[in-house]
């Protein structure tokens, strides 16, 4: 019964989804040379994801609920962008969140922010799901190339229209076309770099380089580090 309710509400309302991210619009420029947690400097006095995750590690379910409220939208949005299918995306989002609960004590603040840790788990899970499905599908039919070509345009388009985060949008705009396309297809599209090379008809080495220098340029533009 609960299952059916869930299927009815698959299409999420987009309007207002950004309100809860308001605190992220002002991103502090790095000055000290240390990495800054993505969620730090909350102007509304909200508890940071790093602090919440520390409490979650000690079994605090209330902190987990707050963490859910802060990050479930980003997890779901990312997973959904990669998988497309709403039911699968919901399933993977749930797996990711339960995984965060299970592994909270393994989080090491020396190795990055809690948000980055959680998004790394989310991206990996979504991509694992994609690769898994492709590997079994690939055995049945060898039309991968066509599938990639067909999927390419909608991915780029969706990113274009739904990227509401002004700063990220602006910074993506500062990349070269090849950098932007490589980052989009790999990160939002869940493609491997050889697949990206195929889609963009560029050499493998070029994709690797564009992914790296594209992300470095994004990093500098967003003031994430340095």
């Amino acid at each position: 019964m609960e299952d059916e309710q869930r299927r009815d509400s698959h299409e999420p309302p987009l309007a207002g989804a950004w309100d809860q991210w308001g605190a992220n619009r002002e991103v502090p420029m790095g000055r000290t040379g240390r990495l800054r947690p993505v969620m730090s400097g909350d102007s509304e006095g909200r508890i940071t994801a790093d602090e919440l995750l520390g409490r979650v590690a000690r079994g605090d379910t209330e902190a987990f609920a707050q963490l859910y409220d802060q990050l479930s939208g980003a997890i779901y949005g990312l997973v959904r962008r990669i998988l497309r299918d709403p039911a699968q995306s919901e399933e993977v989002t749930q797996e990711v969140l339960v995984d965060v609960w299970r592994r909270a004590a393994k989080y090491d603040a020396d190795r990055g922010s809690a948000t980055a840790w959680i998004m790394t788990i989310a991206h990996r899970r979504a991509v694992d799901r994609v690769r898994w499905e492709e590997s079994s599908a690939a055995r049945e039919e060898r039309t991968a190339r066509q599938t990639f070509a067909a999927a390419a345009d909608p991915v780029a388009e969706e990113v274009e229209t739904r990227l509401e985060h002004e700063q990220v949008r602006r910074c993506l705009g500062s990349l070269t076309d090849l950098q932007r396309e490589s980052v989009r297809l790999a990160y939002y599209g869940g493609y491997t770099y050889p697949q990206v090379a195929e889609l963009l008809s560029i050499p493998l080495g070029t994709v690797k380089t564009r992914l790296r220098d594209g992300l470095i340029r994004l990093r500098d533009c967003l003031g994430v580090a340095r």
Partner: protein, 240 residues
């Protein structure tokens, strides 16, 4: 090792490396602190891309997730930290507690330190073998998933060896260990015990694979078994 391996940081944080290259890069990452620092920074960057993609999940999901964690046990924090892996923001109290716990563990299992050293030695010894198999010209990859666990096999028929690694396996009680088996029509042959931490097993080399059709993992009593005593928790067929 290829000269441009440093340039893989971007593809790595985007999870865009094919399994073999990912394995090679993670190996490189352990030795390259510059790469590790860059990976950290780029992960903060891709996290921003994730935040920018946020969408409201179905409202019912919140209750489902909160209900599910009520029946999921959390993993313990790492206590015996490896050299160079300083626990963040540890207060003196935590440090003292860690030492007390460590002493208790050492007292209980005098072999822990020895085994740790043994593990490092084995890792170093297997490092070359792993790289040799992975970079063999005829190396083929297979992935398989059982439950929440996924396994990766890189198999070289020419070398009659395969590298096995996995993620998503559950933590075991301290008296159990994961063991790797080569499985064929005539039964299962032990390929040794797996080093498990944080849901992953270290890449292990399986040898003498004549007749084997797949590699499988079982949970066995500490020390391992001569023959599997339980059903496999993960099975990966060898690539044909």
């Amino acid at each position: 090792m290829r000269p441009d391996i440093h340039h893989l940081t971007g593809a790595y944080v985007a999870d865009a490396l094919p399994p073999q290259e990912e394995l090679l890069f993670e190996r490189h990452l352990e030795e390259c602190s510059l790469c590790a620092a860059e990976v950290r920074e780029l992960r903060e960057t891709t996290a921003r891309l994730a935040l920018a993609a946020a969408q409201q999940p179905p409202p019912a999901l919140r209750q489902q997730v909160l209900a599910e964690i009520g029946s999921v046990r959390q993993q313990p924090p790492p206590v015996l930290s490896l050299p160079g892996q300083r626990r963040a923001r540890a207060t003196w109290l935590v440090r003292v507690a860690a030492v007390v716990v460590a002493l208790a563990i050492i007292a209980a299992l005098g072999t822990v330190i020895l085994r740790q050293q043994d593990r490092i030695d084995r890792l170093q010894a297997s490092n070359t073998e792993v790289t040799e198999v992975i970079s063999a010209p005829d190396a083929q990859t297979a992935v398989a998933k059982t439950g929440g666990a996924s396994g990766l096999v890189v198999y070289s028929r020419e070398r009659n060896a395969a590298v096995f690694s996995s993620s998503g396996l559950a933590d075991l009680p301290s008296d159990r260990i994961y063991q790797l088996w080569a499985i064929g029509p005539s039964g299962a042959t032990s390929e040794g015990l797996l080093d498990y931490s944080n849901g992953r097993t270290e890449p292990a080399v399986a040898q003498s694979l004549a007749g084997a059709q797949s590699l499988g993992v079982t949970a066995e009593p500490a020390g391992g078994s001569a023959a599997p005593t339980s059903d496999p928790v993960l099975v990966v067929p060898l690539p044909a």
